[in-house]
Symmetry: C2
Subunit: 481 residues, 2 copies
């Protein structure tokens, strides 16, 4: 009945990454397919990770002065089409509601692919003068984009969960200043919670958000050497403000248009996290987002069961004020089967306890990331578990940071760029002249596009890797999801 | 530009409740209309109340062992139609997606009006034996029901936010035992957070959820004397399990169907809370769900401004570790205007501080619920504010409980029932024989339906208020939303 139940991963991450990834997600019970093609189910452990990422990020948003709100799921067609670039970007992927009950609707309603248009139409009434600004709203919701590309759980699908920040300022300077604040929050939570480093940079014009003036992103690198876009931030300038007549009276009594930004982090991050940290045994979930941080596995036989279980429960009770603990007292599975299951599910720390441990007033701690096993004094178990969890969190980020660094190459010539993309994958940093022709040329010949351009640029950029003319920026070239 | 900005409520709650309610919601900036008829916008303060109710309820669900998950927004038509009563109940209100991008879909997709069908189709694969049970899932999401009745913010609309709990058990006994647990949680959070009492009871067969065996609800009474359904709980028996072949192997190795429940609390509770507690000055928000619990209004003139503001900031800093505080230091509004605005918005406690207060080492506390004003020693301000907030929370529940009690009447005869419904409104408790004819008869003649039947029933019920035959239960008759 259940094909995946208690079945380990058979694919090797290094040899068949795509198959490994799918098995890791499904067999660990993080997610499942649904009867709607391209839409996935977030099972409890997958959703718990999202809750932790969402709540951790939300706390930072609130600290920064952003306020949450909720806007309708459905957007009338006439609104969606108000900003030209925006509608051209999204129309091919919009799911349309055309009927309700037994009636045909007079106007088609889009399921939000993103909420700019309905928000701006409504908040226009809320803003009268400079005193009502800034207005910094955020929504946590799901959006639908009816893509026809091959769906992959968490990484690409027709519905995903995200935050969408939509902010309005009186001046361009204030709007621009928000960029570092929000990208800083995204960096803090992806690194601090998910142990996922990334490359912060600006998108090229051909890659920017439909309707934005400039887009910025954090790009991650997957184990297969492909880049994948993480959280993003868009400076919308006054594009939407013009289309939606989003104005205010400034301090001089003159009417001005607001300056806007939009920004997002999505459930895709969970997929990247799984891909980056996992191994052939399964997931490795960073302690700060793990639904279970410590699993206690009692090592028992019929004779010792009651004594060991009693001690195991005592330890669980000690730990559970500080950590997310699960005591696996199922009597129909061997310890070995339990080890496999919790390793597959990525629980960062295992605590083993048997009769001998009790006699020696110790427990055995086994790290998921390194498989390192050591005894710890029973009397120090709370502190010892805390130390291990902190170490694991740090070690995962360190390992991922090292791995990212080793995936970033530089190229002084086009041959070098081509060669590195073909043989090593990852990101190649090279100078670019700013022309779409060169961007397209590299992509057509190597498969690598400009995923973004680092915010810190050298004083002298050098010549364009493709055409040899003067470069305007060092760009991050990579094959990409 | 904004018609509602800083505009007070002109309607009187006691005289024109509907108009008062609409003004209270819109002018306090809790919610707004949207360009999609029947779909509202939750503005930051309205959404903040929902976050507090959601998080408080979610904590209780987690403590009870329920796990959160997320299932797709869209449900294929073939699934929605699998359980006959269910589809008949929901089909007239389903919003259908028929097109995506430029393509017509082969099968219509329903925007979830509720998620039973897609959940059961998927979880069938997750359940193999009794060891996989119980499976207790919960979703926090939004649902769309395309009603054609007049929409009212929070109370009735085409999209609302809610929790939907969906649980599966090996035995009927376990499933039934969940009822008291979940209704207990709903009672705890509606009373404890929203200060909203209600009448717990069982629905009649004609009022039960489409697909359920029995439905239970908490009914509130609005200030206009109409009942309104709050959180509900449905015993689904094996109805869906049969339709979706949701089975498991029991301990004897035999195949059985699971027993199911579903349960929900929605954003409607916010509307009921506003209606029950508010007054002619505006909202009164219970401290436990208030986005701002204490507003500090400095009483200043040009000469004293800097000294008073400095002290006001010090007090804000003292309070903000324990409470949600806002210092209103806007220099372009008089204290009187500020008082009006925060009273309209329902902030439970106002703290005034002026030069004289500083000289006397005191602050002035003004309760929103009673308008009572008293001085408190500056040195005890943290504890004093805490005491007042606790008192306000208790007083609101006490007042609402008294008001509910005075809205519940009993009737021994049909004349008495008719008379009470017509003259006093509220709930009339009377015996009922269990026949749909009598239920319908009372409704046709008085406008009052059976909203539910108390769980605790007297040993002797008496004769049916309508037909005079033997009664099976005391029922709560009321005009209802």
């Amino acid at each position: 009945m259940s094909e995946t139940k208690q079945e380990g991963i058979t694919a090797k991450k290094a040899q068949d990454f795509d198959e490994w990834y799918t098995q890791a997600i499904l067999r660990s019970e993080l997610a499942d397919y649904s009867p709607v093609s391209g839409c996935m189910v977030y099972r409890p452990s997958g959703y718990a990770i999202w809750e932790k990422l969402r709540d951790g990020t939300d706390k930072e948003f609130k600290k920064a002065g952003v306020q949450n709100a909720y806007f309708p799921l459905l957007i009338p067609e006439r609104l969606l089409t108000k900003e030209q670039e925006h509608v051209e970007g999204f129309a091919p992927e919009v799911a349309w509601v055309t009927e309700a009950g037994n009636s045909k609707l007079e106007e088609r309603l889009a399921i939000r692919p993103t909420s700019e248009t309905i928000i701006y139409e409504v908040v226009r009434k809320w803003i009268r003068s400079w005193r009502d600004l800034p207005l910094r709203l955020n929504l946590w919701n799901s959006v639908v984009r009816w893509e026809f590309k091959h769906p992959t759980p968490f990484l690409r699908g027709r519905e995903f969960l995200w935050n969408e920040g939509h902010t309005m300022f009186a001046t361009r300077e204030e709007a621009d200043a928000e960029r570092d604040q929000i990208l800083g929050i995204y960096k803090k939570v992806t690194e601090g919670l998910l142990a996922l480093p990334g490359l912060v940079g600006r998108k090229t014009d051909s890659e920017k958000f439909a309707g934005a003036v400039a887009s910025f992103s954090i790009e991650h690198v997957m184990p297969n050497g492909k880049a994948i876009q993480g959280p993003d931030f868009h400076s919308d300038g006054q594009n939407f403000a013009r289309a939606f007549e989003l104005g205010f009276i400034d301090q001089k009594g003159e009417r001005q248009l607001v300056w806007q930004n939009t920004w997002a982090i999505t459930t895709r991050e969970i997929g990247v996290m799984i891909a980056v940290h996992g191994d052939d045994k399964g997931l490795i979930i960073p302690p700060k987002v793990a639904p279970i941080q410590v699993v206690i596995v009692p090592i028992v036989n019929d004779e010792t069961r009651s004594r060991v279980l009693e001690e195991a429960k005592r330890i669980r009770d000690l730990l559970q004020d500080s950590y997310l603990v699960r005591l696996d007292d199922r009597d129909y599975l061997t310890p070995g089967r339990k080890f496999n299951e919790w390793e597959l599910k990525g629980v960062p720390l295992r605590l083993e306890i048997g009769p001998r441990d009790i006699n020696q007033s110790q427990v055995v701690l086994v790290r998921r990331d390194t498989s390192m096993k050591r005894a710890a004094k029973m009397i120090e178990v709370v502190a010892e578990v805390g130390r291990e969890l902190e170490d694991i969190q740090k070690a995962l980020l360190a390992r991922a940071t090292e791995s990212l660094a080793s995936s970033v190459h530089t190229a002084r010539s086009y041959d070098e760029l081509k060669d590195t993309i073909a043989k090593e994958g990852g990101v190649v940093q090279a100078a670019w002249c700013g022309s779409e022709e060169c961007e397209e040329g590299v992509k057509a010949e190597t498969g690598a596009k400009i995923v973004n351009m680092p915010l810190d640029q050298p004083a002298v950029v050098g010549t364009c890797v493709f055409c040899g003319k003067a470069g305007i920026a060092i760009a991050n070239f990579a094959k990409s999801y």
